[in-house]
Symmetry: C2
DNA sequence: ACAATACCCGAAGAAAGATTCGGTATAAAG
DNA sequence: CTTTATACCGAATCTTTCTTCGGGTATTGT
């Protein structure tokens, strides 16, 4: 079984928050589910750049953290549906603000990145 | 020179934002500088868990992105001082909110993590 | 001279995270 | 009976990020 090597600081709010929704596509997944895109296949179509596997893994994480919940009727082909929990919904305003900050300052940041030659 | 393999999407505000302040200690560094802890040595003392090197690297990144600026009078031993730029200050409310969200839901998340046996 | 201090940098390797590929399960449709 | 569809999981490999260690520079104090 996998065991983390480097200690975590879950008492830092920012650290905990970024653990919960800091994966490569978690924000997009939450956004998709919030828009009613409930099933893994459809989330995959909504975010075509993300690999199928990472969506599965991050859905699993979000489930563990209690950000989303799953309804899975056992008809076949399986049709799992995910929805946001109350706690899951509570981060949406935060994501919206991050997005807004990013879009507002995108030009500034890009400018700075090209001026200094470093590719970060 | 290091070259990124995987394409980035800098047009997503969240992606850009997390690129700018998403490193392991960038938030803490910004917090420190905001509190007037201006010099690398002192930042290091303020965040003893962070390695010296990562602080240097993340300071350099924040400088490139224009979140902080450097005053370096060339007396010796060198005394560089960092301060937040206007743009750098503009993310502070966001960080405060992330921290608040994290602290508010820390107990919930930790509970969920222990109930499901997975160590993430 | 020479240590001490403070900042910065490079490079090797470890750790975390993502990607890729393959597999399981089940039932309905062809 | 074979194919198709959907969800999920495991493992190898690759990419990115962090750690660790060492070095360089230039001044001040001994």
């Amino acid at each position: 079984m996998y065991e983390r090597k480097i200690e975590e600081n879950l008492d830092c709010g920012i650290y905990l928050a970024s653990k919960v929704f800091g994966g490569k596509w978690k924000c997009c997944i939450l956004d998709a589910i919030n828009r009613g895109i409930a099933r893994p296949v459809d989330i995959g179509h909504y975010i075509p750049e993300a690999s199928k596997r990472v969506i599965e893994m991050q859905l699993a994480e979000l489930l563990i953290y209690g950000m989303i919940e799953k309804q899975s009727d056992d008809t076949y082909p399986k049709k799992s549906e995910y929805s946001l929990t109350i706690v899951g919904k509570s981060i949406l305003p935060l994501l919206a603000q991050m997005d807004e900050w990013g879009l507002t300052h995108a030009a500034f940041v890009k400018e700075r990145m090209t001026v200094s030659q470093n590719p970060l």
